[in-house]
Symmetry: C2
Subunit: 200 residues, 2 copies
């Protein structure tokens, strides 16, 4: 049993080293050699835990997605629904150092998945998982009778999801032109625009 | 004089080869060797035109941005304003093969600029140029008295820009989940939501 725990811990340590390497030097620096050095393990040992670079990258990225899910699950939702939604969406925006780093490595991964078929299943899985989260936001507005009448649920889900990812990428790339305060104002204003006048 | 023309043409040929290499294999494949092979020139000859990889990438990306501007300048704007805006914004969405390829290389470039300081000036320049375009859209709505009252211009510029880039990236990465028809419906619906009821 301790051996299994060690195995899990070593894999996580290597995943964290992968994030650090990508955050510092971009995806191009995410070679087995660089990641092994950052993790303080030998290349041979790293190959024992992950047989291909794609397997290592997918594991590291899956861990990013699980961390986000875990933080969202830990939110105490005993607050007004719009506040709860904002609280949740903040977890996928680069507003803090840790979410910024997550976005940075996720952005690099997504981009790499475009030309690396082995990474596509995870890229799709996380896209759908995120989309499901935004679907719950819109459907909750409808269920609680907060949404404006005749709202097009499917369209609003894709619109909200695209807006949030666009804000995340702009905020990450150009924080000097898109401040955290503006990101939060846009999020606030967008959610309110989905609600009927009477509830605001 | 013909020598200068040749110089310009050779540089453009190499830029197009750069796009092809990135579109096929991602930014990691954009080595001087691979680009020279794709362009059908020697590595020495390529180095004559561009002394560093960053110079070559910046030139290739600047050309993408100029092509987009040129297509927008060629639009015949004698149509209803909302249609003209949609027509313009379509040029920065991956709805056709050529805009799809542009987005793909632009996305790779943007991502690389995160860890490559030499690429940041161009990344910033294009960000601001695009933002200026979206600012014109919102300001035109106000000027023509189409915008809904009390519109927050700065917020709506950043919101529209983030939405369009988010749609572009989602459409590029996951066309199976976000169709061109949905992208166009969202664009249409978003622009209408910025207008006052009476004009729709």
């Amino acid at each position: 049993m301790p051996k299994k725990v060690d195995h899990v811990k070593q894999r996580e340590k290597i995943a964290v080293a992968t994030w650090n390497v990508i955050a510092k030097g971009g995806m191009e620096k995410a070679t087995v050699r660089n990641i092994a050095r950052e993790a303080g393990v030998s290349v041979g040992s790293l190959r024992h835990y992950f047989s291909t670079q794609a397997e290592l990258l997918s594991f590291a990225m899956k861990l990013v997605s699980e961390r986000v899910s875990q933080r969202i699950n830990e939110i105490d939702f005993s607050m007004p629904p719009l506040d709860a939604m904002k609280r949740m969406i903040r977890e996928v925006l680069p507003l803090e150092d840790d979410t910024k780093k997550e976005m940075e490595v996720w952005f690099a991964f997504t981009q790499k998945a475009l030309s690396e078929p082995e990474l596509q299943p995870l890229s799709k899985e996380v896209y759908l998982k995120m989309r499901y989260g935004f679907e719950q936001v819109i459907k909750t507005l409808v269920k609680l009778d907060l949404a404006r009448p005749n709202i097009n649920v499917e369209l609003e889900v894709d619109r909200l999801y695209a807006l949030i990812d666009g804000l995340a990428i702009h905020g990450l790339m150009h924080p000097e032109y898109l401040s955290n305060e503006m990101i939060e104002s846009i999020l606030d204003s967008h959610l309110k625009s989905l609600c009927k006048q009477e509830v605001l």
